[in-house]
Amino acid sequence: MLRRKFLLGLLSLIASSACFAQLTIEISGAGANRLPIAVASFAGENKLPAAISEVIQFDLNRSGVFKLIDTAGVAAPEVPSPDFSQWRGRGADALVLGTVNSLADGRMEVRFRLFDTTKQSQLEGQAITFRTETARRTGHQIADIIYQRLTGLPGIFSTRIAYIERQGKRYRLMVDDSDGQNPQAALISGEPIISPAWSPDGSRIAYVSFEKKKPIVYVRPLGSSMPFVLANFKGSNSAPAWSPDGRKLAVTLTKDGLSQLYLLNADGSGLRRLTTSAGIDTEPVFSPDGASIYFTSDRGGSPQIYKIPAEGGNAQRVTFEGSYNVSPRISPDGKTLAYIARNNGMFQVTVQDLATQQTQILTDSAKDESPSFAPDGRTILYATEVGGRGVLATVSIDGRVRQRLSSAQVGDVREPAWGPLAK
């Protein structure tokens, strides 16, 4: 019943945004004990390119924390004391009301209030000024405020994701809102692009391009400036990973033979070798405290995850189960390792509690790749394949809520990377 309501809501969202060929989200599973919340249509929002209340509903819904109450057909102006009994009757524990007004200078203002319908009290009330074209962003911002007020945790709806979209022989490095509804091409190429990595401040993306018939690492500042070459040594250059302070990057180079880890400054200077093994060392990633680098190595015969001190030193093996464990990522609190494990020929998103070494497979798909933690550490974004097409999906770190972001247009989407919290 509930799911049907969600579907209906989603269908209308999909219908209203279909012409933009954006990613759409499908939910396949839901957490228990979700907080029932009603977000009424905001008065005056129909003059905006995106209805703010719908952006908020979509965000709260996909968090898996809320159960959205149907508000269809309810005229609910933004007033200090709404008819709480009416909303209680509909099953809402929380209520959001809002109004959008045009300002004299051409900008817009949205006023919204968040109520606790049981205590019949206002929890939050704010006015935000914005430009018409940033209506979506404003919706995400309000969703973040509501989420934070009701859960005590920071909201991540204003964060962005990067991914690679391939259509025929065209590759695009895309930057998008984390709900997949605002895709912008940061780079277009006739050759593959892989491994986008956000700088910790969200201002730059490092990536690997094959435009010169070999892999070369570039950094693209978001904004006006052009990409610059970070690493182009003899052989292959790949797998960029930023240090948490944004001043250095670990990369994989083959200038001295097999793939090994190196460290360089963010301007490409100061190259230093980090690992010296007889096998492959690649896919480096810094721990959030900057003290360690986790990476994939086949030095023990099969690809497994290891870690070394960030300044180099002895490697310590981290994964032991199975014969193929790759693509390590560390949660923002440093406690959980996410990676791709091969189980009976299926490549699946897996997590390991770094303290107890307990592991859990989070998906039932067969071709998962590129896990990436949300900045709040509660969700993992990853690439997988459905019906022969590359799609993006998310899974909560307990494996209970899984969602799919699938592009409405033809083509493959892969190599996702979740950006940092908006500053």
């Binding site: 022989k169 491994s195 693509s327 490549f347």
Partner: protein, 180 residues
């Protein structure tokens, strides 16, 4: 201009060579997506090249379909990273050419099948590229004449999802300067 022409000539020669590649006939080597349009002009292109270059030019051998030097693909077994005996004559021929022509340079591009992570496959492709590079240097080719790189699983020649396609993509390609 001449370089573009040469490159296209070599490309078509390469494509012609493609059809006689790997050990397992099961692997259809033709499905190089997007190359279908370039298959026809092979003969006229070769003639043009002969006009613009001297008859005795040793570089002609690289695109002569009857010469082993026109064969540029080295295939590998699953999870194996050494040059198989079947491909030694090919690699030896290129070593001989590189030693005789000091201005010749090669880009060895390693590839991997689609299974697993992009970056780890990039490293596996590099292992294959390094194997050919190692063999060439052992045969006396100067290190400065060879660059070994990987395309990982990003540029598959066969786009299927079966063992035949995977075998086709466990491969090194040898490209000479002017071809990349």
């Amino acid at each position: 201009m001449k370089k573009t022409l040469l490159a296209s000539v070599i490309l078509s020669a390469l494509l012609a060579a493609c059809t006689t590649t790997p050990t397992e006939q099961a692997a259809p080597t033709t499905p190089t997506a997007g190359t279908a349009t370039t298959t026809t002009p092979t003969t006229p292109a070769v003639t043009q090249a002969a006009d613009t270059t001297k008859k005795a030019n040793p570089w002609d051998a690289l695109k002569d379909p009857n010469n082993i030097l026109s064969k540029r693909s080295v295939y590998f077994d699953f999870d194996k990273y050494e040059v198989k005996l079947d491909y030694m004559p090919l690699v030896e021929a290129h070593a001989k050419f590189l030693k005789a022509n000091g201005d010749a340079k090669v880009l060895v591009q390693g590839n991997a099948d689609e299974r697993g992570s992009s970056e780890y496959n990039l490293a596996l492709g590099q292992k294959r590229a390094n194997a050919v590079k190692q063999t060439l240097t052992t045969l006396g080719v100067k290190d400065s004449q060879i660059e070994a790189v990987s395309l990982g699983k990003e540029k598959p020649r066969a786009t299927g999802h079966d063992e035949a396609s995977w075998a086709e993509n466990r491969r090194d390609d040898i490209l000479y300067n002017g071809e990349y």
